[in-house]
């Protein structure tokens, strides 16, 4: 289990130090600083073993979070915890920066006491935490006896993530499907690897203890229904798509509120949602991915001192949709001494500090194409090494799910309070972003 948790600034000074177990001493703090933060060679591995002690670290901007243990701990669990910790801190005080951490150090120690007990991760649900760890210190004293006992029963009860007695005038529900699409393509346009990692994020403002049921175009479910010959009426509810195409999900994980036994047996996703914002599920797909953009590079070396680059991008989705925040990054050789760029659309600039030409387009509709051409002057060098030609990378945002995932329904049942599924206002949004979206040139 986690023996201790340290937070460092970029210089390696300790901002937060919380030790949970006796086997971790103060010298562990220094060991990590010396061997990782101040290491001569950059430490790439997130797990470092120093003197039979394991250090798991994540870095957020200039801040290092390190979990330390002497035991053989589940590394995935520790990282999950560290990410959760980051989420919790962000939810409480915004960006994780040295200043914010220094200003909120009491709060952080309080949080650390709550979410880790003797090194075992506890409830790290922001919504639940916020009910009893607040930033308005004085207010918390005015909790009534009743409220306090409620907190206790909630934290120790079966449904730790939701307290009872929540009431909203308007029962509302927001559902975001956020996907990031990763691609590596050969210069000839052959897909070398592609996958989508997606998240379903919900924001729920529902009264009482509602029971929700979420349905999407999961291939297994659709096939089962197709075989059974019965069509579920609710499957064609207002939220669901027209059930045209199903997708194969490679793997998925759920929020703790989802009843896993039901998912295992019936593959239905039913849960009592936490209040506020949370991530319902994560998934990954690798088949039949819709690639929103195609990049066609053309690089020509003219002698030893000149390079001509032409890049065409084609958008590949419905013309009615608009892609946003498009950015194409074309790496330049290390001996570039000057660059001239011409582009039809958007703005392009040579950024010397990043050794790349950055081409930005604000908006682009589907089934269009655009092009940039650049002339790069080179300085002759002594080095006989050839330029490695790193891939051209791309960033964008599109208003659909590149995996093809469709939300079919999201039903809400609250038998105790008198509102029904129809009374709940539901919003669904799809956002597809680029992950590592690269084309070799």
């Amino acid at each position: 289990m986690i023996g201790g948790l340290f937070i460092y600034n970029h210089k390696g000074e300790v901002l937060i130090s919380r030790v949970y177990r006796d086997d971790i001493g103060r010298n562990a703090v220094d060991a990590f600083r010396v061997n990782v933060i101040h290491a001569r060679q950059q430490v790439r591995s997130p797990v470092t073993n120093i003197a039979r002690t394991s250090f798991f670290h994540v870095k957020r901007s200039n801040i290092w979070l390190a979990a330390v243990t002497k035991q053989n701990v589940n590394a995935a669990m520790v990282f999950e915890f560290l990410y959760k910790m980051c989420d919790v801190m962000t939810a409480y005080f915004g960006k994780i920066s040295e200043e914010n951490i220094k200003n909120n150090f009491v709060l952080i120690y309080e949080l650390l006491d709550e979410i880790l007990d003797f090194g075992y991760p506890q409830n790290s649900e922001t919504g639940a935490l916020k009910t009893f760890i607040t930033q308005q210190g004085i207010k918390s004293q005015h909790h009534t006896k009743e409220e306090q006992s409620q907190i206790t029963s909630q934290v120790t009860g079966q449904i730790g993530w939701r307290r009872e007695g929540i009431k909203y005038r308007r029962n509302e529900l927001f559902l975001d499907v956020l996907e990031s699409v990763n691609l590596l393509m050969s210069p000839q346009g052959q897909v070398l690897s592609a996958h989508v990692s997606g998240r379903v994020v919900m924001k729920s403002y529902l009264s009482g203890m509602p029971e929700c049921k979420f349905g999407m175009n999961d291939k297994i479910v659709i096939d089962k229904q197709g075989k059974g010959g019965t069509t579920d009426d609710s499957g064609k509810s207002e939220l669901g798509g027209s059930g045209k195409q199903s997708i194969a999900i490679d793997d998925c994980t759920f929020h703790q509120c989802v009843r896993l036994s039901k998912f295992d047996s019936e593959r239905s996703i039913s849960f009592i949602p936490p209040d506020g914002e949370y991530e319902l599920m994560r998934y990954r797909t690798t088949k039949d991915i819709i690639l929103p953009f195609r990049v066609i590079p053309l690089v020509r070396e003219v002698g030893r001192t000149k390079l001509e680059v032409k890049v065409v991008i084609k958008s590949n989705f419905k013309p009615s949709l608009l892609a946003q925040k498009i950015e194409v990054r074309i790496p330049t050789p290390l001996n570039t001494s000057g660059v001239q760029v011409i582009c039809m659309k958007g703005k392009a600039k040579y950024k010397a500090s990043e050794n790349a030409i950055v081409w930005k387009i604000k908006r682009m509709a589907g089934m269009k194409e655009s092009q940039i051409s650049a002339e790069i002057e080179l300085l002759p060098t002594n080095d006989k090494k050839k330029w490695a030609r790193p891939p051209i990378s791309m960033n964008f945002e599109v208003p659909f799910a590149p995996s093809g995932l469709k939300v079919r329904y999201l039903k809400v049942f609250e038998p105790k309070l008198n509102y029904s599924d129809h009374d709940v206002i539901k919003w669904v949004r799809y956002i597809g972003r680029s992950g590592i979206y690269e084309t070799r040139c």
Binding site: H10, Q42, N62, L334, N335, T336, S337, G338, A352, S353, E354, N355, E377, L379, P380, T381, N382, D383, K385
Partner: protein, 932 residues
């Protein structure tokens, strides 16, 4: 960085550096650098002409970026351009860049060399110095090739400035160190040596470094420097502290130069010229005198400088080792330092004294400081100083103070640092053995040693105790008693159990008279330790038990019970199980007579160099033992062990374990050693036959030289010569592969009876444990024939080839006929003697079929090779051959006569041998029958 004048400062560079320093993260730094690199690239683009200042600035930035750890692959051309500038700062930055970043890019090197050549030939001393520094900093082979001829010229030219000479001398030194073959001094030698007379002290200091290095390689050419150095030294030493102005350091005149001069003198033997020598002795005396004077300053720099010269002078005195007066004075001086409060001085004093102790002149003087040194060993806070103190104690030990020193070392051992314990143990063991007058003291000391630091007592140490106890009758009873007492301690070290088991097994009977140490008590004591011991020790104990059965028949049933128990006879360890089974059978089947023979007391060990000394030598700790001490050790060792011959024949055995009990891995069958194990071999002899150690043996009956053995890896050649009862055999081990053999060890053993002084074998010059691929090493074996014998000694060779251990056992071609002295005699003499040897057992006869063609000449050659005299015209039948010879052994001479009658028709031979000893006749007959 260069000292830039204010007007010349590079603002852009300063800004860039401060930007980099202010970067919050690595990424930010890399971004800033990329930006700067792009900027410099655009500036260096061919179409713009840059002025010298900006060029310098950008080259400086590139250099800085390079020093931050980034690759720089451009800008070299600009840097080379800077070299041709006339401004010092620009030129200097150019050279700096080149020295740091030069790579073997051929065209650039040519340009650089050109620029350097221009600067060297310019008359500007600063530029010349810059160029020389660049050559020295780069120091590559190309540079050496281009300038090795030029620099000596600059060095000795009359009109060269002093500062340039200094640089030239050091530059040349650097080139000489990297590529000595290119720097040929030849014609310049004498002029370089005369730089010692230069007016400028800086030049002398630089030149002396060069001369020292050169004279180490070819001392003869630079011999003349000795007198010059002495006169220079005397001038410095006798100068007043104000004479040398700039070169006086805290009231000490030219300390660095003095040290270097003294070190140069250490490359040569004492000067033969009396005047020079007198002057040098005078200098050394002055230095020693000055050490006595009160310090002129309290500053540590003053005393450091003074002591540096003093220690260098003392090293020179030790190096000469010919001036008793100086040596004693040096020793006294060091004695004072032994109590100095500076730890470093105490360390140096102890270290120098260690070398002084080995000189015959100062040994006594060193001994007077024994109390101080012992005190240092006890109280010194720094472990390295204690280590030196221990070394010194070891070095100063002799017969007079051995008891005191050994006692002190033993008592120190209890608290000694773990890092030096093993070495201490070895030293104690060696000293105890070397200076033992009384063996009970020796035994006590070693047992104490095992008790105090058992973990650090290596195998060699306890092997040695046992060897000595076995070889000395007078100490055996005492040893048995002491060991018995030591074993009674509730917790005793395994090494103690080993010694105890061995000694009680051999000599337990000597103390069995006392009811407190009756046989059964002894056995129970040993057996109580049995279960706490490791497998090899248990194996040894089992051997001790079977010896007990022989010594004390009354313990037989108890011991058999133990051997029969499941934990022995079904032990999972093969070695233990086999021993248990065999010993049990042996004790129940064999009669008492057989038992007594098989389990006879161990014969004395042959004399040899103490293996402990070899081990210490291998450890090679600083200040371990010098070579002459080792030889002394050998001498003394010989004296101690009395028994065999002394000194000269002493030899080292690479793996002494084989000589004691055959405890090394592997069943006793393969451990061909004179041990209980190999005695067993004789009892159960069916399984023993070595694969084919005799394969090559037959070939050597009639010849002395040839190839003894050959396979894909190894070839063993042999060359031998015999004279009277002595023989010398040269073995040549050739590595036929391209890979080196490691841990190459050879052991010569005489199996069975052969060991019991029938044949005496000593190996000489122990081999290096390494044989390089394709290389050959030589080993010499001395052989002495004591009485006649029939078996041949075994040569066991072990080495690692690749990873695999190769183990090889061969019979050495030593046969009785090698010791023949040919005897010429006339026909009637022959027949008279023939008749004298007419007893039936004196004659051996064999009739056998010819294996080879019956060629008279070949037969003759073979018979001559046999070593006997071939007597012509003796036998009435000219077809027959008769020979006569005397076998020389140490004990007696055995006259032998031989008659060989070939029968050409039947292709048969009849061989008759008659000799005064029946075994000899038989053996000769056997040997010869295989030859024809």
């Amino acid at each position: 960085m260069p000292a830039v004048s204010k007007g010349d400062g590079m603002r852009g560079l300063a800004v860039f550096i401060s930007d980099i320093r202010n970067c919050k993260s690595k990424e930010a730094e890399i971004k800033r650098i990329n930006k700067e690199l792009a900027n410099i690239r655009s500036k260096f683009k061919g179409d713009k002409a840059l002025d010298g200042y900006s060029k310098k600035k950008y080259v400086c930035k590139l250099l800085f970026i390079f020093l931050l750890g980034h690759d720089i692959d451009f800008g070299h051309m600009e840097a080379v351009n800077l070299l041709s500038s006339n401004k010092y700062t620009e030129k200097q930055i150019g050279y700096l860049f080149i020295s740091v970043l030069v790579n073997s890019n051929s065209e650039l090197i040519r340009l650089i060399n050109n620029a350097i050549k221009n600067d060297l030939s310019s008359r500007n001393p600063t530029f010349m110095c810059l160029a020389l520094h660049c050559i020295a900093n780069v120091g590559s082979r190309e540079m050496a090739e281009a300038f090795a001829g030029e620099i000596p010229r600059i060095l000795v030219a009359g009109d060269t400035m002093d500062s340039v000479k200094q640089s030239a001398a050091l530059c040349l030194l650097r080139l000489y160190k990297t590529s000595p073959d290119l720097v040929l001094m030849g014609e310049w030698t004498s002029r370089v040596v005369h730089l010692l007379n230069d007016q400028h002290m800086g030049v002398v200091t630089a030149a002396i470094s060069l001369i020292t290095c050169l004279s180490q390689k070819n001392p003869d050419e630079f011999k003349t420097c000795v007198s010059l150095a002495v006169s220079r030294l005397s001038r410095i030493v006798s100068s007043a502290s104000t004479d040398l102005q700039d070169y006086t350091y805290y009231f000490v005149p030219a300390p660095w130069l003095s040290c270097k001069l003294l070190r140069l003198l250490q490359c040569y033997p004492p000067p033969e010229d009396g005047a020079v020598k007198g002057r040098l002795v005078e200098c050394l005396e002055t230095i020693l005198n000055k050490a006595q004077e009160p310090p002129k300053s309290k500053k540590v720099q003053h005393s450091n400088a003074k002591n540096a010269i003093l220690f260098e002078a003392i090293s020179l005195i030790i190096h000469y080792d010919s001036e008793p007066n100086l040596l004693v004075r040096a020793c006294n001086q060091l004695g004072q330092f032994l109590q100095h409060r500076e730890t470093n001085l105490r360390y140096l004093a102890l270290e120098s004294m260690c070398t002084l102790a080995s000189s015959e002149f100062s040994h006594e003087a060193v001994k007077t400081h024994i109390e101080t040194v012992i005190n240092a060993l006890k109280t010194e806070r720094d472990v390295s100083v204690r280590q030196r103190a221990a070394d010194l104690l070891y070095a100063m030990c002799d017969r007079s103070n051995a008891k005191q020193i050994v006692a002190e070392m033993l008592s120190y051992l209890e608290t000694a640092d773990y890092s030096i314990r093993e070495e201490m143990v070895l030293k104690v063991a060696i000293l105890a053995e070397k200076y033992a007058v009384d063996y009970s003291w020796y035994v006590d000391t070693i047992l104490n040693l095992i008790r105090i630091a058992g973990d650090y007592v290596s195998e060699e140490v306890w092997y040695r105790v046992i060897q000595i106890v076995i070889n000395r009758d007078d100490v055996q009873g005492y040893a048995a008693k002491t060991v018995f007492e030591a074993l009674q301690a509730p917790a005793c070290h395994e090494n103690m159990v080993k010694v105890g088991g061995y000694i009680l097994g051999e000599f337990g009977n000597l103390i069995a008279g006392d009811p407190r140490s009756s046989p059964l008590v002894q056995f129970n004591l040993l057996h109580s330790k049995f279960h706490l011991c490791s497998v090899p020790t248990r194996a040894l104990l089992l051997s001790a038990y079977i010896k007990f059965i022989n010594l004390f028949p009354e313990t037989k049933s108890t011991i058999q019970e133990v051997l029969r128990s499941d934990s022995q006879i079904r032990n999972s360890d093969v070695e233990l199980q086999q021993r248990a089974v065999e010993y049990l059978k042996l004790s129940s089947i064999a009669s008492t007579d057989v038992l007594a023979t098989v389990l006879e007391e161990m014969p004395p060990f042959p004399e040899r160099e103490s293996s402990i000394l070899a081990k210490l030598k291998k450890k090679k700790g600083p200040g371990a033992v010098s070579v002459n001490e080792l030889e002394e050790g050998k001498r003394e060792g010989g004296e101690l062990n009395g028994g065999g011959e002394r000194g000269g024949d002493s030899s080292s055995t690479p793996s002494p374990s084989a000589d004691l009990l055959g405890l090394r891995a592997g069943p006793p069958v393969t451990a061909a050693a004179p041990s209980a194990g190999s005695l067993l071999v004789d009892v159960f002899s069916e399984a023993v036959k070595q694969p084919s150690p005799t394969a090559f043996l037959r070939l050597f009956v009639c010849k002395n030289n040839g190839v003894l053995f050959e396979n894909q890896l190894l070839q063993i050649g042999i060359k031998s010569e015999y004279r009277q009862n002595l023989g010398r055999m040269y073995l040549f081990y050739g590595n036929k592969t391209s890979v080196q053999f490691v841990t190459f060890t050879t052991t010569v053993t005489c199996p069975g009876e052969l060991q019991s002084h029938i044949l005496h074998i000593h190996t000489w010059n122990s081999l290096e444990p390494l044989i390089e691929g394709g290389a050959q090493v030589q080993q010499v074996i001395n052989i002495e024939c004591l009485t006649d014998f029939s078996d041949a000694p075994l040569l066991n060779i072990k080495f690692r080839y690749g990873g695999a251990l190769q183990n090889l056992t061969l019979k050495l071609p030593v046969t009785i006929n090698k010791f023949f002295q040919p005897t010429e005699m006339a026909s009637h003499d022959f027949f008279q003697r023939w008749k004298q040897l007419s007893l039936p057992q004196q004659e051996a006869q064999k009739i056998f079929k010819a294996n080879h063609a019956m060629d008279t000449e070949v037969l003759k050659a073979k018979l001559l090779g046999l070593g006997m005299a071939l007597l012509e015209n003796v036998d009435p039948n000219p077809e027959n051959f008769v020979c006569a010879g005397v076998i020389q052994t140490k004990a007696q001479q055995v006259g032998s006569l031989l008659r060989l009658e070939p029968n050409a028709q039947a292709q048969m031979y009849r061989l008759t041998v008659r000799s005064s000893k029946d075994t000899v006749s038989k053996r000769l007959c056997e040997l010869l029958a295989e030859q024809f």
